[in-house]
Symmetry: C2
Subunit: 550 residues, 2 copies
Amino acid sequence: MAKDRLRIIPLGGLGEIGKNMMVLEFDDQILVIDCGVMFPEEEMLGVDLVIPDITYLREHRDKILAILITHGHEDHIGALPFLLPELDVPVYCTKLTHGLISVKLKEHGLLESSELNIIAPGQPFKLGPFGVEAFRVNHSIPDAVGYAIRTPVGTVVHTGDFKFDHTPVDGLPADFARLAELGREGVLLLLSDSTYAEVPGYTPSELVVGRTLHHLMAEAPGRVIIATFASLISRIQQVIDASAKNQRRVFVFGRSMVDNVAMALELGYLSAPDGLLGRPDELRRMRPNQVSIITTGAQGEPTSALVRMANRDHRQVRIVPGDTVVLSSTPIPGNEALVYRTIDNLFKQGADVLHSKVAEVHVHGHAAQEELKLLLNLVTPKFFVPIHGEYRHLVAHTKLAASLGIGAERCFVLEDGNVLELGPTGGRVESRLPYGHVYVDGVGELAHVVLRDRKLLSLDGILVVIMAIDKQTGRLVTRPDIVSRGFIEARDGEPLLEETKDLVVKALEQTEKHSADWSFVQTQVRETLGRFLYERTRRRPMILPVAVEV
Amino acid sequence: MAKDRLRIIPLGGLGEIGKNMMVLEFDDQILVIDCGVMFPEEEMLGVDLVIPDITYLREHRDKILAILITHGHEDHIGALPFLLPELDVPVYCTKLTHGLISVKLKEHGLLESSELNIIAPGQPFKLGPFGVEAFRVNHSIPDAVGYAIRTPVGTVVHTGDFKFDHTPVDGLPADFARLAELGREGVLLLLSDSTYAEVPGYTPSELVVGRTLHHLMAEAPGRVIIATFASLISRIQQVIDASAKNQRRVFVFGRSMVDNVAMALELGYLSAPDGLLGRPDELRRMRPNQVSIITTGAQGEPTSALVRMANRDHRQVRIVPGDTVVLSSTPIPGNEALVYRTIDNLFKQGADVLHSKVAEVHVHGHAAQEELKLLLNLVTPKFFVPIHGEYRHLVAHTKLAASLGIGAERCFVLEDGNVLELGPTGGRVESRLPYGHVYVDGVGELAHVVLRDRKLLSLDGILVVIMAIDKQTGRLVTRPDIVSRGFIEARDGEPLLEETKDLVVKALEQTEKHSADWSFVQTQVRETLGRFLYERTRRRPMILPVAVEV
């Protein structure tokens, strides 16, 4: 590799390129940006989390200078407990992000052994050959930043997840001036959030949600119950503000919501008038129209507080007619069924339910087309790499860039594991790391073959054929036994399974001569039964022949 | 049950109330409206179709007069092949619907034995105590109707799936005049489509899509490939019309698309200028900008023509830069991942891809709020039952009715299996049928226990423990064997599985005295291993102990 070139490598993100992790390399020194997890797609059966494959980083462990974190969402910090023990490098982040990471590392018993550094936007620091400076952006969590990274080849700007909000809840708009200055000084490469590159116009301000909540609390006849993400600190602040204006006290339910509210209050990222927040045991004594409730469960998570309320299974809150429930969120793809089942159950108990399809109770955290164009025109980069989005979002983002005169020759659409080598006058995708995702379930990594088997098992079940075979003669000692699960109902299946046993007996008689060759017998049994069962049931269970030699 | 009352029973629909089937009963005589299937939700592993539970109809088989069909979509006709052999009653439907049903029954060898009657809108006929008349509505398929059914208690109006389109492709708007007349004569009960009751405004006309397609074909540099539902006959007509205007010949791919186009041309529901439709083998000789392609695969179905094109796996069509691909559809919830993966793959091969999120290339087939209100004001029913929607849609629909003065006392929100008994002055939900869905996979019905096992298998896999046991002593003859699938990778799992075998040996030694009691041994092995494996792996595979007595 040429020594005077930057290397840019997006890692992780389940098809959302560079979402969880981005590697920036110069002269054998490495900066990592973000370290997050993805939640599995439906077809990844029994997988709890998906983390980036860090084979490359593991091999170059001693060259990594630091991990820079853009903000405190799971898809940007969630893999730290898995990867920090292996990589053991310092982490840099803003104050609230530091709070959220600390909670997480403490849970995993890793807080003591990790080096976490709090940084502030606008205060540059050096890391090897890199001059690093965070700049403030808006997102659906406070204290979100992007990074400007000065390298010997030129300046790289990484936006993180961002939108432009002129009236954010914390009063701190994105730092337009700094972005413009960086642009004037000259930016070699812009890496910019593409999540909403297909959406025209501007993303509405959080202010819109605040107004809706205020009107709603003024008019609701009874309690107002608001479900949102525990990390959506600004949304929680808006609920507190609207409640205070409408003489409602606020009660918080759901473990992660309670934890995050406590942490954010302590760090000063949330504020509430004295006495506004109530203890659960005070709830009974309140008149319904004096109550707001903040809770987890906006994604219909089966064990969340809201879902328990919807199923009459929550100890402290029972839904009654007159309650107004607000889902301040949009369903993450794949969660729709859970979310809508929860809404239906709430309606059935007499609550009125508002969600983002029917009322302005949610805005998302990513820049739409006009904001993306504004950013491109502020930063005026020489080269452009769209990140944080699926392939079609990246393509849509390059079309926006093209409309501003940044043509295809200055854009690089990468995929996870691609290595872009970039010099002052141009670059190209030089290679692709051997790259896969790492699946985590409970405590361990999951192999692909295990996932594939789960998929197969889930389709038509399994059929275990147990054969007691004489060690000497290689012949069946007794009639084979068959146990099946997820294939056919026991009652209906009995005659079919008896026929299947006959077939096994016959198959083994025919293969007598090869009986020493167990793998041949296995294949024979599998194929014979597979054909027979498919003919009779149109199902293809996994067939598992096992032999006991006696 | 009072003899002077109507009974209304919605059946089927997987939570979309009355979507697949509606039962109307008077004086022990039954009319059935629609007979459709639902496609399974993701969690229904290996299920191909879900059909209504007709236990009730089976028990009252001799009282059923007919099945009336509203239109030819799968969720309204798809269960006929499963239920007609059992119920053996005449079916009434319009001409195109008749064509679609015939194709389906022929496939199942049922066409000869079924009585299908073609009816025309506006021509009343008698069925026992019922006077039946179909009226024309608009939907995303031609020849869609609703039914006005005169009963001794009063007139019942059932809309079917509908929208109001003033400029439909077939030139036949919904019959507003007939609906108004019915309203003036007096309607006892309206059953109306609620699918889009949450959506404000009007559903755009198909005309909008026609305009988009025309502009797109005029401007596209190469081929235009349009994927849509095979049953969306009007959309196909629009592609033909836009192609003709732009001197492009039309090529049709995908089995169901080819079949439906042939049938619709024959019945006169599609028309094309001579020579416009091309044979696949002519495609090679055409210049790219003289070609339109219509194909299946708009939902990312894995074996569809479009998906094969996207994966370079289609024999006749290979995607090249310059191709414009249009997905004229919206992803059905649950299909998003498949659809977006297809789009990404098309982009990666250099095509430009348009879908409903970024261009006006699709309109849906259901009435939005303003249309629903118009219908309510035309029909002015005494009582109202919202149908065809999940519970929250029905609630939203009653809110619309309330805004027109049809208060809660005149609305009944039902669930599948509910029995509404309605007289001239009022009604109530009297009972609920024992009711479940019926799952179909391949050729047979699926028991719930089978589904539950598939779910369990899919989460953490399976562990089969094979024990050869001496018939006389009840002791292990050899060391137990263990086979696992979907649980742990063979390579990593070896030592763990050896430990597990030790545990089995120990467990069997301890239970020696009870060894005759196989179910006790099973439970013992299951519990011991379950605890041990969960401790060591945090996974809970299904544990299946099997014994071979020798």
